[in-house]
C-alpha cells in the first residue's frame, strides 16, 4: 500500500459515550482530508464492542489486523474517540497520542464543560466544527512532530538573544506573561511564562495558529486543556511578516485595539532583518551555515525535560528521498524507538541521580533493506534524544560516533 495511494486512510470517530451518537467523523486519505467513508453500521459496531466491554469492566484498548490498527479511548466517560488507520508503520503509540491531541483540541475549542456534560448534542456538533481544521491536521501528514513527540517544535533563530530580549520587553509593555513568536507553527522565541504552559496546550497553540487561515490579527477564545479547561482565555495573534506571527495569551486585558501598528513598529522595526532571516527557518529549524555532516538527511532532536524539539529534513535537500518521505521515516523511527527501546515517557521525574536500572538502552540504529539502504540512528545522552537519518554511504559502524558528534554540536542550541 503506497503512502500516497488511496489505500492509506485514517478514520477518526468521535461519539458521545452515553448515547452513542456520532459527534463527528473525520477521514484522511493519503495525508489529505477526505470525505468520511465508514458506513454507520461500522461506526456503530466499533463503538458497540467498546461499550459492551465497558459494561463488563473490560476495557478494550486496541485491535490490529494485518495492516490496520484500531485504537479506542474514552475521555471523562463522556466522549469516545476511535481511530482506525492503515497507514504504513502506524503504531498504537502514535494513534494513542493522536487521540490525546484530538481530545485536547476539542477542549481547546469548546471547553471541557461542554464535553463532559453534554446537554444538547446538536449544538455541540456545531461548536465542534471549529476544531475540524485543527483535528484534520493531526490526521494528515504534518511538517511538525509535536503531535507525536509531545514536544514543542522550535527553530533556532540567527540572533536569538536579541529577539528574546525584545520579546520580553514587548511582553512587559503589553502586560502579558505569555508571548511567543511563531514561524509556520514553530516557536522562534517565547517568554518564560509561555514556556511554563502545560503540555497539550504548549504544542496545541502553535499548531492551531499554524493551521488557521492567514490573517493580520486575531482575537480567538481558547480553553487550555491542562491549565484552564473550563475558563476560556484570549489568544491574540499579530502577523509581523507573512508567516511570522506574534502570539499573546491573555485574560480580558489588553484589548486587541491596544496592540496598534505603532506599538509593533516601535518594538519590532529594529529587528526587521533578523525577522526576515527567520522566515525560511520554518522547515530548516537550524540557522544557515550550521555545520552538519553531509551524510545527514534528517534530524530530530528532543529535549525530554524542556519538552522542546528540533525537527528538520532539509539537509542535503537535493538527494533522495523526498522531504516528505524523510519526515515520515523519521517519525516512524521515533515511534519505534519510543515504543520498544527507550522508555516511552521519560518525563522530568526520572533524573540522573535516580536508581540506575541494570540495563539501560543508550542508542540504537536501523539499516533499511536492499534498494534504499538509508540508516537511522537514535542516541540518548542525558535528557537529550537525537534521531538522525543518514544516507546509505555512511558506514554503519560509525553511526554512533557521528550521532554523538552531532549531538554535542547541537547541545548549546537546545
Amino acid at each position: 500500500m503506497g503512502d500516497e495511494g488511496p489505500g492509506s486512510t485514517v478514520h477518526l470517530l468521535c461519539l458521545a459515550a452515553s448515547s452513542g451518537v456520532p459527534l463527528f467523523c473525520r477521514s484522511s486519505s493519503g495525508g489529505a482530508p477526505s470525505r468520511p467513508q465508514l458506513p454507520f453500521s461500522v461506526i456503530g459496531s466499533l463503538n458497540g464492542v467498546h461499550m459492551f466491554g465497558q459494561n463488563l469492566d473490560v476495557q478494550l484498548n486496541s485491535a490490529r489486523t494485518e495492516d490496520t490498527t484500531v485504537v479506542w479511548k474514552s475521555f471523562h466517560d463522556s466522549i469516545t474517540l476511535i481511530v482506525l488507520s492503515n497507514e504504513e508503520g502506524t503504531s498504537e503509540l502514535r494513534l494513542e497520542r493522536m487521540l490525546h491531541m484530538v481530545f485536547a483540541a476539542m477542549v481547546l475549542i469548546v471547553g471541557l464543560e461542554e464535553l463532559t456534560n453534554i446537554r444538547n448534542v446538536e449544538r455541540l456538533k456545531k461548536e465542534l466544527r471549529a476544531s475540524y481544521c485543527l483535528i484534520d491536521s493531526f490526521l494528515g501528514h504534518s511538517e511538525l512532530s509535536g503531535d507525536l513527540t509531545q514536544c514543542v517544535d522550535c527553530v533556532i533563530p540567527p540572533e536569538g538573544a536579541l529577539m528574546q530580549e525584545t520579546l520580553s520587553g514587548f511582553a512587559e509593555a503589553t502586560g502579558t506573561a505569555f508571548v511567543s513568536l511563531l514561524v509556520s507553527g514553530r516557536v522562534v522565541a517565547a517568554t518564560e511564562g509561555w514556556w511554563r504552559l502545560g503540555m497539550p496546550e504548549a504544542v496545541l497553540i502553535p499548531w492551531l495558529v499554524g493551521s488557521l487561515p492567514p490573517q493580520a490579527a486575531r482575537d480567538y477564545p481558547v480553553y487550555l486543556p491542562h491549565g484552564s479547561p473550563t475558563v476560556p482565555h484570549r489568544l491574540l495573534t499579530l502577523t509581523l511578516l507573512r508567516g511570522l506571527e506574534l502570539c499573546l495569551l491573555c485574560g480580558p486585558r489588553p484589548p486587541l485595539s491596544q496592540l496598534d501598528p505603532q506599538l509593533l513598529d516601535r518594538w519590532w522595526q529594529p529587528l526587521l532583518e533578523p525577522l526576515r532571516a527567520c522566515l525560511p527557518l520554518g522547515p530548516r529549524a537550524l540557522p544557515d551555515g550550521f555545520p552538519l555532516h553531509s551524510d545527514i538527511l534528517g534530524l530530530l532532536l528532543l529535549h525530554l525535560e524542556l519538552r522542546r524539539c528540533l525537527f528538520t529534513v532539509e539537509p542535503s535537500k537535493d538527494k533522495e528521498p523526498s522531504p516528505e518521505q524523510r519526515r515520515r521515516l523519521l517519525r516512524n523511527f521515533y515511534t519505534l524507538v519510543a515504543s520498544t527501546h527507550f522508555p516511552p515517557e521519560p518525563g522530568p521525574a526520572e533524573k540522573e541521580d535516580a536508581v540506575h536500572p541494570a540495563q539501560t538502552p543508550r542508542a540504537c540504529y536501523l539499516v533499511l533493506g536492499p534498494g534504499t539502504g538509508w540508516q537511522l540512528v537514535a542516541l540518548q545522552l542525558g535528557l537529550r534524544l537525537l534521531l538522525l537519518m543518514l544516507s546509505p554511504q555512511s558506514p554503519t559502524h560509525g553511526l554512533r560516533s557521528l550521532a554523538t558528534h552531532t549531538l554535542q554540536a547541537l547541545t548549546p542550541l537546545l
Binding site: S45, P321, Q325, L329, H341, V367
Partner: protein, 940 residues
C-alpha cells in the same frame, strides 16, 4: 553430585543377598492398570517375558506416551517409605510412570495383535535381547551395603577428601586372564565402578566420568582397607588425577606389587555439603515437571497460574440462533474465575473478527484490553469460519511473542491432528487438549519453574532465552566434528535403511508396515543429527517443545520414553502441485511419529504407512520391532555421549566472554580466589597466567575504555565460592587434564590444541586471548581465527543466536558454555539480550511478511517505490545498552559502566537467515562479517 539413593534412605534399604543377582538380570516391571498413580509401585515379575512394558499404556487410538525415569529421578518421585518394598534388589529398580487415559477394557481390541506379533518373533528368537536390563551379573556380587552401613554409624564428621593406602598386586592379572581387559580397577583394587549404562543413568552427565564406587569386591584390597565406602569418588591414584577414561591406563602403569595411595572424595561429606540442599530444590521442580508431562497437576503450580487471567478459546463464527447456549464455544481452557471474564467478553472477539475483516479486508491478528488493571493481549487465528484465540497478560508475554506462540501452537496442533477443526471438534480430544494447553500456559506464565536444568545458571539461561528461542522456526543445533557426525549419520542411516531381518519383506512374506522416512537425533535437547526434511524436523521439534520433552531430556536421564502417534506433517501432506509425472508425488499415506528417549538421547523417527509399505488400517499402536530397532540404535550410540558432552562443553562455535570481566570492579574477594588450591593448580601448568603487570592494572582503578590491556581479570559478581566449587567438582575439565588426555590419546594435534585454547578462554581464569596466539603455531592461527567472532585484540563477544531457515536450525551457546562463564551481570545481560532480540525480530518478521507479499504480487516496482516511507524492509537493527553492577553501595564513586550492543541482522537471500549478536562496545563490529564467520560451514 552423584547421589546414591541408598545414602539418602539408609533405613529403607537393608542388606542385599549376593545370590539374588542372577534373578535380576531380566527383570521386567509391569505396571498394573492402576499404575497411573505415580506412587504406586508395581510388583516385579522376574520372568523373562518379552512383552514390552509399555504395551499396556497404548491408548485406544493407538497413541502412546510412556515415560519411565532413570533410577535416581524415580527415587525422588516416590515417598521414601515406598522403597522398602524392594528388599531383594541390588540396583534400585525402575518404577514406571504410566499415563493412563483410557479405559483398559477398551484396549483389549487391538492388544492381541501386538502380542501375537511379539510372540511370533519370540519363538523365532528374533527379538533383540533386552540386554540393557542386565548390568551387574558380570561384575560379581556387590552386596556390601551392610558393610557400609556399619561403617556409617561410627562416622560423625568426615573430611571431604581422604587418602587410603591399598596394596596392589598386578600379578593377579595373570591369574584372571579370562576377564575382559578393561577391568583393572575391579581386579586390582577391588572397586566396582559401573560404566555400563544402568549406573551411568543414575549419575548426572556432567560427572559421568567420575569414578564413583558402586561396589566393593569381596576380598579385594579396597574392602580389606575398610575405609572405602560405596558412593565415594575415586579422584586420584598416587596423586594422579583419574577419571573413568584414564583409570585403566593409570593402573596398567603399576609395575609390580606395591602400596598405592588412593584419594577419595567422601561421598557423605560431599552430599552433606553441597548436594543435599540443592538436590531438594531441584527435585521439587523435577517432580513438577514430570507430573506436568504426565498430565497430573502439581497443585501449587496450577493454583498460582489460575490467578493470572489467561484463556484459549476455539469459537465458531456460524451461530445458529435456535441452538443451545454457548454453542459458539467449541473449546475453551482453563475454567477459572480469572478466565471467566475473558470468556464472557467473547462477543468482542467475534465482532472484531467479523467486522474488521469486512472493513479492512485483512484478518484481525490481535487486540489488547484492560482487565482488573492488567493489560491482556489476545491473539487471533482465523481459519475458514473458526477462530482460535489465546489471551495472556502483556506483562508476562509481549505481543510479538504471543503472535509467535499462537502460530506455533496452531502448527503443532495441525501436526498432531491434521487440522484445527479435527483437533477441537472431537469430544474425545478435549482432555488431551486440556493437557496441551495447561503445558502451554505454564510455559508462558512460569518459565522459570519449567526449565529445570542441571544447574541454576542453566535454568536461568533457559528461562531467559525461552522468550526468543521457543518460537524460532528452527531447532537448536549442536555442531559436531566431522568424525562424530559420520558416526551418528551411519547409525541413523542404518536404522533408516530398515533392512534388519525382522523387516525383510521376503522373510515373512508380508509387506512391511512402515517405511522410515527419516530420523532426527536429539541430545539433551540439542539436535545433533537429522535425516529429515527441514519442515518435518521443525514440526517435530515444535511438538517436543510443546510437550517439554526437550528440557526433560536435558535435565533428567530418561529411563525410557516412548511416544507414538499419528501425525500430519505439512511437508508430506501438501496437495500435489501439478499433474507433472516427472515430479515426485507424495504417496497418499499416513504418517506416524515414533519418539524413543533413552537417557539424554531422543530419537524421533517419522514413519510412513501406505506408499511402499502396507496401508495402515484403523489406529495402529506402536510396533515392537520398530521401537526395539530405534532403541537398539540408541544403545549403539551409548559410547558417543561422552564425546557429545565434550562438544557441549566446548562447542565448535565462537568463544564467548563474560560481561563481568569487563566491569573491572576491584574486589578483595579475588584474593580468596587465587588462594584456592584448585585454582592455583590450574594456573600452574598454564604459561598464560596473568602477568603481574596485568594484575596490577586490574587492582588499580582500571578503566575498560583504555582498550589495550584485556579486562580479562575475572571479577565482578561471580562468587568465588561458586566458581571454586564448579572447578573442584569436575576436575576432569581442567585444561591440564584435557591436555593430558589429548596427548596420551595422540589424536590430531590441531584439534587438541584448539580445544585446549577454547577451554582456557572459557574458564573463569583470566586468559588474554591475544596471549594465546603466542602459544599457537602458525598453522593453528587459521583455526583460531575462526573461533573468535569479534575483531580487535580481545574477545568481546558475549552471546549470539544464529537462525538458518534453510535447514531449520539455529545455533546459540550451549548451557555448559554459559554456565562456565557465570557472572551475575552476564546472566542479566543474557536476559536482556533475548528480550531485545524479540523486539528486533518482530521488526524482521514485518519485513519478511512484506517480502512475501511482494513476491506474491509479482514484485511490482511501483509498490517498492511507494513503501519508501515505512520502516520496511529492515536489514539490520542494533541497540546499545549500558549496564552497571546491581546494588552498588559505594556512594562516593559512580558505579562502573559497561556498554554493549545487541545487533540483529536479517539476510533475505537465498533463504532468510537471522543473526543476533551481543558484544562489547569497545570495538566497532561489522555485523555482516560476523554473520559470515558464524554461518560459514553451518551445515547439517
Amino acid at each position: 553430585m552423584m547421589a546414591d539413593p541408598a545414602w539418602r534412605d539408609p533405613s529403607g534399604r537393608p542388606a542385599e543377598l549376593p545370590g539374588d543377582l542372577s534373578s535380576q538380570e531380566e527383570e521386567e516391571e509391569e505396571a498394573d492398570a492402576e499404575a497411573s498413580d505415580l506412587s504406586s509401585c508395581s510388583s516385579a515379575s522376574s520372568d523373562t517375558d518379552l512383552e514390552p512394558e509399555w504395551l499396556d499404556s497404548v491408548q485406544r487410538n493407538g497413541e502412546l506416551f510412556y515415560l519411565e525415569l532413570s533410577e535416581d529421578e524415580e527415587e525422588s518421585l516416590l515417598p521414601e517409605t515406598q522403597t522398602v518394598n524392594h528388599v531383594n534388589h541390588v540396583r534400585f529398580s525402575e518404577k514406571e510412570v504410566i499415563i493412563e487415559e483410557d479405559d483398559p477394557r477398551e484396549r483389549k481390541k487391538y492388544e492381541p495383535k501386538l502380542k501375537r506379533f511379539t510372540k511370533i518373533l519370540k519363538s523365532k528368537r528374533l527379538l533383540p535381547k533386552r540386554n540393557h536390563k542386565k548390568n551387574s551379573n558380570d561384575s560379581g556380587p556387590v552386596s556390601i551395603l551392610k558393610h557400609r552401613s556399619n561403617q556409617k554409624t561410627g562416622l560423625t564428621v568426615q573430611q571431604r577428601y581422604k587418602d587410603v593406602m591399598v596394596y596392589i598386586n598386578p600379578k593377579k592379572l595373570t591369574v584372571i586372564k579370562a576377564r575382559e581387559p578393561l577391568k583393572l580397577l575391579e581386579v586390582l583394587v577391588g572397586i566396582i565402578h559401573q560404566t555400563k549404562w544402568s549406573w551411568r543413568r543414575s549419575g548426572k552427565q556432567a560427572d559421568g566420568e567420575r569414578l564413583v564406587v558402586h561396589g566393593l569386591l569381596p576380598g579385594g584390597s579396597a574392602m580389606k582397607s575398610g575405609q572405602v565406602l560405596v558412593g565415594d569418588v575415586l579422584v586420584a591414584v598416587n596423586d594422579v588425577e583419574v577419571t573413568s577414561e584414564n583409570i585403566e591406563r593409570v593402573l596398567s602403569c603399576i609395575p609390580g606389587p606395591m602400596q598405592v595411595k588412593l584419594t577419595f572424595e567422601n561421598a557423605y561429606a560431599v552430599k552433606k555439603e553441597t548436594a543435599q540442599p540443592k538436590k531438594k530444590k531441584t527435585q521439587a521442580c523435577t517432580n513438577d515437571l514430570v507430573k506436568l508431562l504426565c498430565g497430573l497437576e502439581a497443585d501449587g503450580v496450577q493454583q498460582s497460574a489460575l490467578d493470572v487471567p489467561h484463556i484459549t478459546m476455539y469459537l465458531t463464527l456460524q451461530i445458529h440462533s435456535e441452538a443451545a447456549r454457548e454453542e459458539e464455544i467449541l473449546y475453551h481452557y482453563p475454567v477459572s474465575e480469572a478466565s471467566q471474564k475473558l470468556k464472557s467478553v467473547r462477543g468482542i472477539f467475534l465482532t472484531l473478527c467479523d467486522m474488521l475483516e469486512s472493513v479492512t479486508g485483512t484478518q484481525v491478528t490481535s487486540s489488547s484490553l484492560h482487565l482488573n488493571g492488567k493489560q491482556i493481549h489476545v491473539a487471533y487465528l482465523k481459519e475458514s469460519d473458526k477462530l482460535l484465540l489465546i489471551g495472556l497478560p502483556a506483562e508476562e508475554v509481549p505481543l510479538p511473542q504471543l503472535r509467535n506462540m499462537i502460530e506455533d501452537a496452531a502448527q503443532t496442533l495441525k501436526f498432531m491432528y491434521g487440522s484445527l477443526d479435527s483437533a477441537f471438534c472431537q469430544v474425545e480430544n478435549a482432555p488431551r487438549l486440556d493437557h496441551f494447553f495447561s503445558l502451554f500456559f505454564k510455559r508462558a506464565l512460569q518459565p522459570d519453574k519449567f526449565y529445570v536444568s542441571a544447574s541454576p545458571s542453566a535454568q536461568q539461561y533457559d528461562a531467559a532465552s525461552a522468550v526468543l528461542l521457543d518460537n524460532l522456526p528452527g531447532v537448536r543445533w549442536l555442531a559436531l566434528p566431522q568424525e562424530l557426525k559420520v558416526e551418528l549419520d551411519t547409525a541413523l542411516s542404518d536404522l533408516e535403511a530398515a533392512d534388519f531381518a525382522e523387516l525383510s519383506e521376503d522373510y515373512y512374506d508380508m509387506r512391511r508396515l512402515y517405511t522410515i522416512l527419516g530420523s532426527s537425533l536429539f541430545y539433551k535437547g540439542y539436535l545433533v543429527c537429522s535425516h529429515l526434511p527441514k519442515d518435518d524436523v521443525v514440526e517435530i521439534a515444535a511438538y517436543c517443545r510443546q510437550y517439554c520433552l526437550l528440557p526433560l531430556a536435558a535435565k533428567q536421564r530418561i529411563g525410557q520414553l516412548i511416544i507414538w502417534r499419528e501425525v500430519f506433517p505439512r511437508y508430506h501432506l501438501q496437495p500435489p502441485t501439478g499433474s507433472d509425472t516427472e515430479v515426485f508425488q507424495e504417496p497418499e499415506g499416513r504418517y506416524f511419529l515414533l519418539i524413543v528417549g533413552l537417557r539424554h538421547y531422543m530419537l524421533c523417527v517419522l514413519l510412513e504407512a501406505g506408499g511402499c509399505a502396507s496401508k495402515a488400517i484403523g489406529t495402529p499402536g506402536p510396533d515392537c520391532i520398530y521401537v526395539d530397532q530405534v532403541k537398539a540404535t540408541l544403545h549403539q550410540l551409548e559410547g558417543i555421549d561422552s564425546r557429545i558432552e565434550e562438544q557441549l562443553a566446548t562447542p565448535l562455535g565462537p568463544c564467548l566472554s563474560c560481561a563481568d570481566w569487563f566491569l573491572a570492579v576491584p574486589r578483595e574477594k579475588a584474593d580468596g580466589l587465587t588462594t584456592s588450591p584448585i585454582l592455583s593448580r590450574l594456573q600452574g601448568p598454564s604459561k598464560t597466567a596473568t602477568s603481574p603487570t596485568c594484575r596490577r592494572t586490574f587492582f588499580s582503578d582500571y578503566s575498560f575504555k583504555a582498550r589495550k590491556p584485556s579486562p580479562s581479570r575475572s571479577s565482578g559478581g561471580c562468587e568465588p565460592g561458586e566458581r571454586g566449587e564448579g572447578v573442584g567438582l569436575s576436575p576432569h575439565t581442567t585444561p591440564d587434564a584435557v591436555r593430558k588426555q589429548r596427548e596420551s590419546d595422540g589424536s590430531d594435534d590441531n584439534v587438541a590444541l584448539l580445544k585446549l585454547t577454547r577451554k582456557k578462554s572459557t574458564l573463569p581464569n583470566p586468559f588474554h586471548l591475544g596471549n594465546l596466539k603466542k602459544e599457537l603455531s602458525e598453522n593453528d592461527l587459521e583455526v583460531y581465527n575462526m573461533v573468535k567472532l569479534t575483531s580487535g585484540p580481545e574477545n568481546t563477544l558475549f552471546h549470539y543466536v544464529a537462525l538458518e531457515t534453510m535447514q531449520g536450525i539455529f545455533i546459540t551457546p550451549t548451557h555448559e558454555e554459559v554456565a562456565q562463564l557465570g557472572g551475575s551481570i552476564h546472566s542479566q545481560l543474557i536476559k536482556n539480550f533475548h528480550q531485545c532480540c524479540l523486539s528486533i525480530r518482530a521488526i524482521f518478521q514485518q519485513t519478511l511478511k512484506e517480502e512475501k507479499k511482494k513476491a506474491l504480487s509479482g514484485g511490482g516496482d511501483s509498490e517498492s517505490a511507494n513503501s519508501l516511507s515505512s520502516l520496511t524492509p529492515v536489514k539490520e537493527h542494533g541497540v546499545l545498552f549500558e549496564c552497571s553492577p546491581e546494588n552498588w553501595t559505594d556512594q562516593k564513586k559512580a558505579p562502573p559502566v559497561m556498554c554493549y550492543w545487541v545487533v540483529g541482522r536479517l539476510f533475505l537471500h537465498p533463504k532468510p537467515q537471522e543473526l543476533y549478536v551481543c558484544f562489547h562496545d569497545s570495538v566497532s563490529e561489522i555485523a555482516i562479517e560476523m554473520a559470515f564467520k558464524l554461518f560459514f560451514g553451518l551445515t547439517l
